[in-house]
């Protein structure tokens, strides 16, 4: 089986005056593998995740997710492909604050019919994930804005996991949590991705959690940052 992520000779540059660019000769993530990507703030971690998610496209090289060259997909299909294949967790403000927890968890299924089918009974699946992530019962109908930050991050994990996508991408998901909450969060998340056998690419600037992952890599080891001459 093809690796879940594979980048080959990728080059990308943001438009505009900042002109931040990066190039990746080669990067792979096997199916079911959990990788921690370490890099300083501003080193292009989020940019790399956007490239993998297909919301921005490389100017050169190929980005493959589950074997599919995402640049070759037309725009609408690429958006759907992202919804089908990737569960996404941000640093914070993951949820639509005015929506219920259930609406937030099931939002990606709205754009991914296959994933919705895999999820089966959507409400049951959401309730099960909430329970597994130690979220109190009855939270499903609560408004997302009423949740604590730690709860919101776990709801984001439930949303990323629902319908068992083969890949989870997490952009510094623990940086808004205190240390005990971080540990609990990671325990719960790892339990679930191991159970689902989903791949995980998590970026962070904090090396302390490294021992939970299959592999830890530094940005600088595989990626060149290109900054325009000031």
């Amino acid at each position: 089986m093809a690796p879940i992520i594979s980048l080959q000779d990728v080059q990308f540059r943001w438009p505009g005056r900042t002109g931040f660019g990066l190039s990746v000769p080669q990067f792979e993530l096997a199916r079911g593998e959990a990788v921690l990507l370490l890099g300083a703030s501003g080193s292009g971690k989020s940019t790399l995740l956007s490239l993998i998610g297909g919301t921005v496209l490389a100017s050169q090289g190929t980005v493959r997710v589950a074997g599919e060259d995402i640049a070759s997909l037309p725009g609408g299909r690429r958006d759907r492909f992202r919804a089908e294949q990737i569960g996404m967790i941000f640093q914070q403000f993951n949820l639509l604050p005015f929506g219920s927890v259930l609406d937030n968890i099931t939002l990606p299924l709205r754009f991914a019919p296959e994933r919705r089918k895999r999820a089966g009974d959507v409400q049951r699946a959401a309730a099960g994930l909430c329970a597994a992530l130690a979220l109190p019962e009855g939270l499903l109908t609560a408004k997302a804005a009423t949740l604590s930050v730690g709860q919101q991050q776990r709801v984001a994990v439930a949303r990323a996991l629902i319908g068992t996508p083969p890949l989870l991408i997490a952009d510094e998901p623990t940086s808004a949590l205190d240390e005990t909450a971080q540990g609990q969060f990671l325990d719960l998340m790892f339990q679930q991705i191991r159970a689902q056998r989903s791949g995980l690419l998590m970026v962070s600037h904090d090396p302390r959690m490294a021992d939970r992952f299959d592999r830890v890599i530094e940005m600088a080891d595989f990626l060149h940052v290109e900054r325009p001459a000031a």
Binding site: P15, S46, T47, L49, S50, G53, T55, V56, G75, G76, D79, R80, R82, A83, E84, M88, F90, Q91, Q92, F93, N94, L95, L96, P97, F98, G99, D103, T106, L107, P108, R110, F111, A112, R159, D171
Partner: protein, 416 residues
């Protein structure tokens, strides 16, 4: 679910959204209200006189003749001699003819001398005739019948004495001939409401002791002596004419306009009303233009709030994008939001219109004789509402396209 989330997003910004909805609602209510008043005014204006085929007066402008003979505005420059009047009445095309004699006033109201035929032949709102609310029509030389507004403004009852002044707004009153209120007419919404009606002979009687607008010194003829006199008028101001067959209207009009003894003018009331509306209606059109501007202002306000909301909603857009929504969904969300806002605004505006109508209808009717019907919204109103909603959607395209571009440029990670 997307609909529910879009609605939730609107609710989360309830304050600004409410303001926008209110602005749209007010503008829609104003627009429809002006439209309602305009059509109501036009209809009631056109309904001022009906059933009369020709109005005859001394030669002047047709609008001027209409103004003084029907609306009691302005004065006749000349009269029609009694002989001319008799000549016209004798024509075979004439079915009925009612003389009108103007020039006197009672307080702020005009006095009109006429015959009982006026009550029979004057029609308004297509086929409505004048009805006596209290008392009866003139039976005696000094009897008057007053319009509803006259009775209300001056607090007159049946039997009250009335003093008629010669000339309009003149202080020389015909003190010697006290008239009496014999009847009060039902409210019509026409200038008849503001008229004191007397017999043609009564107008002559008032002027027995007068010459060229001044009282002959020392001369007072007692009322019973006046009754003995020949009170045939020497002239009238105008006459309303009904023809035996509508086909003969134009022939008679030509005959009167080319009457050799005296320069006369015969007009078709409908045509003259339309001509007059062309002048009066200009103000109404200006009012309509202003209310269109108000609607446009509200829509620009909608656009402005949408633009302003884009910044605070960049994260919301980024979440949708990360969850697999295409930029087209983002665009659709904004247009949908604009649609919901304008739809809500339009509906509230409609409700405000009906509430306003319900409150204002009796007031407007009694104050201006303007009847504003409360009916379910017609095609025209629905068209306006649909137009406003469509305009809202179109106006929202600009901010929506910007959101589309932003969501493409941002990727899915928006910096906090």
């Amino acid at each position: 679910m997307i609909l529910r989330l879009a609605f939730g997003s609107l609710l989360a910004r309830a304050l600004t959204v409410t303001m926008t909805v209110l602005a749209i609602a007010l503008s829609v209510a104003l627009f429809l209200g002006v439209e309602k008043v305009r059509t109501g005014a036009k209809a009631s204006f056109a309904d001022t006189i009906s059933g009369t085929d020709l109005i005859v007066g001394a030669r002047s402008g047709s609008v001027q003749l209409l103004l003084y003979s029907v609306f009691r505005i302005g004065n006749a420059t000349n009269n029609v001699t009694w002989q001319s009047y008799l000549d016209i009445s004798a024509r075979p095309e004439v079915d009925w003819i009612v003389p009108i004699s103007l020039g006197d006033s009672h307080r702020q109201f005009r006095v009109m001398g006429t015959t009982l035929g006026f009550f029979e032949h004057y029609k308004y709102r297509r086929d409505r005739g004048l009805e006596v609310a209290e008392g009866k029509l003139m039976a005696d030389l000094f009897d008057t019948v007053i319009g509803a507004d006259v009775a209300q403004a001056l607090g007159y009852q049946i039997g009250d004495p009335i003093v008629v002044a010669h000339g309009i707004a003149s202080f020389t009153e015909h003190k010697d001939q006290p008239f009496r209120v014999a009847g009060i007419l039902e409210k019509t919404g026409t200038p008849v409401d503001r008229t004191v009606i007397v017999s043609l002979q009564a107008i002559e009687a008032i002027h027995v002791d007068w010459q060229s607008g001044a009282k002959i010194p020392g001369k007072t003829t007692p009322a019973d002596k006046i009754r003995q006199m020949d009170l045939t008028p020497k002239a009238v101001t105008a006459a309303l004419v009904g023809v035996t067959s509508p086909l003969k209207t134009f022939a008679l009009q030509r005959k009167i306009n080319t009457y050799p003894e005296e320069p006369l003018l015969a007009i078709l009331p409908g045509v003259a009303l339309q001509e007059l509306w062309g002048i009066v209606g200009l103000a109404e059109t200006a009012l309509l233009a202003v209310s269109v501007m108000v609607v446009i202002t509200a829509l620009i306000g909608l656009m402005a709030t949408l633009f302003a909301s884009l910044n605070e909603r960049r994260r919301e857009m980024a979440i949708y994008r990360a969850m697999g929504a295409s930029p087209r969904v983002i665009l659709g969300l904004l247009v949908l939001e604009a649609l919901m806002t304008t739809l809500l605004g339009a509906l509230i505006g409609l409700a405000m219109l009906y509430l306003g109508l319900w409150i204002a209808q009796p007031l407007v009717d009694s104050a201006f004789g303007l009847y504003l019907p409360i009916e379910p919204p017609g095609l025209r109103e629905l068209g306006v509402l649909a137009g406003v909603i469509a305009a809202g959607a179109i106006v929202s395209m600009l901010p929506a396209l910007r959101a589309y571009r932003l969501s493409l440029a941002d990727g899915m990670m928006v910096k906090t």
